[in-house]
C-alpha cells in the first residue's frame, strides 16, 4: 500500500498541475485577504465576523483548488490513459482508489498550509497598517488556520473520490461547481437547517469562516470536528461507490 501511495505522490509531483495550483492558491488567498482588508470599513473587519472572513480566505481558496485538483488528477487518469499502467501494476481497484485519495489529501494539505501561511503573512501587517485589532482570541485564530489546512486536505479527499467515480474531468468539475454554487445556495434558502449538512455549511464550519457565509442567517452550523467527520463520510461514501461501480466497469 505504501508503495502505491508513493507512486501516486510521485505522479502528483511530476506534472505541472500541482505546482501551478500551489502558486495560484497562494496568490488568490493573498489577493482575497488583501482586498477584504483594504476595501472593508475598519469597523467591519474589526469585528469577529470580519476577522474570520479575512483569516479564513487561505483555507477556503486552497480547499476549492484542492477539490479541483482531486477531480482533475483522478478523472485525468481515464482521460490520459494512465489508469492502464496503474491498474496493470496494481489490479486491485479499491487499493488504487484509496492510494489516489490519500495522495490528493496530502496534496490538499500542502496547498492549504501554503495558502494559510500566505494569508497570515499578508493579513496581519495590513490589518495593523489600518490600525485594526482582530477581535478574535489566539485560540480562535489558531482554530481558523488549522481548520483551513484540514479543509483543504479534506477537499482533496472529496475531489479524488468524486473524480474516480465520474471519470470525466469536464463532467465532474462542472457537476462539482454546479452543486457548490447553484444547488446548495438554492436548497439552503428553501430548506431550513440544510446548511448543517451542505458542503458549503461544512466548509464554513471546518475552515472557521463566518457563519453568515454558509447562507443561513445565524448559527446553525455543526462544530468543526463534527463537520470534518461528516465531510469525510461524504468522501468515503463516494470512494466506496467508485470502487463498487469500478469492479464491474471496463477501463
Amino acid at each position: 500500500m505504501s508503495r502505491l501511495i508513493a507512486a501516486e505522490l510521485l505522479k502528483l509531483r511530476t506534472t505541472r498541475v500541482v505546482p501551478g495550483l500551489l502558486v495560484a492558491s497562494v496568490a488568490l488567498s493573498v489577493l482575497m485577504a488583501a482586498l477584504i482588508v483594504l476595501l472593508s470599513s475598519t469597523s467591519d473587519i474589526g469585528g469577529g465576523t470580519g476577522g474570520r472572513l479575512v483569516l479564513s480566505s487561505g483555507g477556503i481558496v486552497a480547499g476549492i483548488l484542492a477539490l479541483l485538483l482531486g477531480i482533475v488528477t483522478t478523472a485525468g487518469e481515464y482521460r490520459h490513459g494512465t489508469i492502464l499502467p496503474t491498474l496493470l501494476t496494481n489490479p486491485d481497484r479499491l487499493r488504487v482508489t484509496v492510494a489516489q485519495i490519500v495522495a490528493n489529501t496530502l496534496a490538499g494539505a500542502v496547498l492549504g498550509l501554503a495558502s494559510v501561511v500566505g494569508t497570515a503573512a499578508v493579513s496581519f501587517p495590513l490589518l495593523a497598517s489600518r490600525d485594526v485589532a482582530v477581535a478574535l482570541s489566539a485560540a480562535q485564530v489558531t482554530g481558523i488556520f488549522v481548520g483551513g489546512v484540514c479543509f483543504a486536505a479534506l477537499s482533496g479527499t472529496l475531489g479524488a473520490a468524486f473524480g474516480g467515480l465520474i471519470r470525466n474531468q469536464v463532467v465532474a468539475v462542472s457537476a462539482a461547481l454546479l452543486v457548490l454554487f447553484v444547488v446548495e445556495p438554492l436548497v439552503t434558502s428553501l430548506v431550513d437547517g440544510y446548511q448543517r449538512y451542505s458542503l458549503t455549511g461544512l466548509r464554513v464550519a471546518i475552515s472557521g469562516g463566518a457563519a453568515e457565509s454558509a447562507g443561513a442567517a445565524s448559527g446553525g452550523l455543526p462544530p468543526a470536528w463534527l463537520a470534518a467527520l461528516l465531510w469525510t463520510g461524504y468522501a468515503l461514501a463516494l470512494a466506496v461507490a467508485a470502487a463498487a461501480v469500478g469492479r464491474r466497469r471496463d477501463i
Partner: protein, 238 residues
C-alpha cells in the same frame, strides 16, 4: 502443453455488438504467438480481458492459472503494450517510468536500463507531449518491461514504428522467446508478424477460425500464410 494464457469460452458484448464470441485458446510457454484478424475482429477486447481491464460477459481468461487480478506481482509476470494512450502529456518519459517503477516495486536503475534499451535515453527528460507515435510505442514497451515479465502482450505494436523499428522489435521478440519467455502479439497486418511468430491464432468476428503452427496452416506448397489469412477472414455472411 504448459499454457501461460488460457482463454475459455470468452464472450464480450458491447450493447448489441458481439466483440468476442465464445472464444477459447491457450498460449504455450516459450513461444511467440501471433493473434491475427482484421480490424474489429475482437483482438483488443480479448487482450484487455486477459489483462483484467475489461469485464467479460461470459467465460474467463487466466494468466498462469489465475485471473489477472489474482496475480501477486503482475508486473513481474506479464507486461502489456496496449493500442491506446497511456501517458500524461505533461510528464517526462523518465518520470513516467519512475512512477510505475515505484508502483511495481522496481529499482530506479531499471528505468535507465530500459530507457537505453528502447533508445529513449536522450528524449527521457522531455515531456511526452512532444513524443512521436513511435517514441510513445517505445515508452509503452519500456513500461511493460519494468518488472522483467515472463509474458509479453503486444497489441498492434508495429503501429507508428518505422521499418528499422519493426526489425528491431522482431529481433527483440525472438531474443525473449529464446530466453524461454512468451509473447502474444496482435496484428491486422499479417506480414508484420509472419516472420517472427511460431504459431498463429486467427480471429474473425470474435471467433477463432484457425489455430496452429505456421507450417501446418500452409499445408499446400504454393500457399502462403497470407493466402490462408485472407481466405479465412474474407467477408462471408454469418
Amino acid at each position: 502443453m504448459d499454457a501461460v494464457i488460457e482463454v475459455d469460452s470468452l464472450t464480450k458484448r458491447f450493447g448489441r455488438t458481439v466483440a468476442v464470441d465464445g472464444l477459447s485458446f491457450a498460449v504455450p510457454r516459450g513461444s511467440i504467438v501471433g493473434f491475427l484478424g482484421p480490424n474489429g475482429s475482437g483482438k483488443t477486447t480479448t487482450l484487455r480481458t486477459v489483462l483484467g481491464l475489461t469485464v467479460p460477459t461470459a467465460g474467463r481468461a487466466m494468466v498462469e492459472g489465475r485471473p489477472y487480478a489474482a496475480l501477486p506481482e503482475p508486473a513481474r509476470v506479464i507486461g502489456a503494450v496496449l493500442d491506446a494512450a497511456q501517458f500524461h502529456p505533461g510528464r517526462t518519459g523518465r518520470d513516467h517510468l519512475r512512477v510505475f517503477a515505484k508502483a511495481a516495486g522496481v529499482s530506479r536503475s531499471r528505468v535507465d536500463v530500459l530507457l537505453r534499451l528502447v533508445g529513449l535515453d536522450e528524449a527521457a527528460g522531455r515531456r511526452v507531449r512532444g513524443y512521436s507515435l513511435g517514441m510513445r510505442q517505445r515508452l509503452s514497451l519500456a513500461t511493460a518491461l519494468l518488472g522483467d515479465p515472463r509474458i509479453l502482450i503486444l497489441d498492434e505494436p508495429a503501429n507508428g514504428l518505422d521499418p528499422q523499428g519493426i526489425r528491431w522489435l522482431r529481433d527483440f521478440l525472438r531474443d525473449r522467446r529464446d530466453e524461454g519467455r512468451t509473447v502474444l502479439v496482435s496484428s491486422h497486418v499479417l506480414s508484420e508478424v509472419a516472420q517472427v511468430v511460431d504459431e498463429v491464432l486467427v480471429l474473425h468476428r470474435g471467433r477463432l477460425v484457425a489455430q496452429g503452427r505456421v507450417e501446418e496452416l500452409t499445408a499446400h506448397p504454393r500457399q502462403t500464410l497470407e493466402d490462408v489469412f485472407l481466405d479465412l477472414t474474407r467477408e462471408t455472411s454469418r
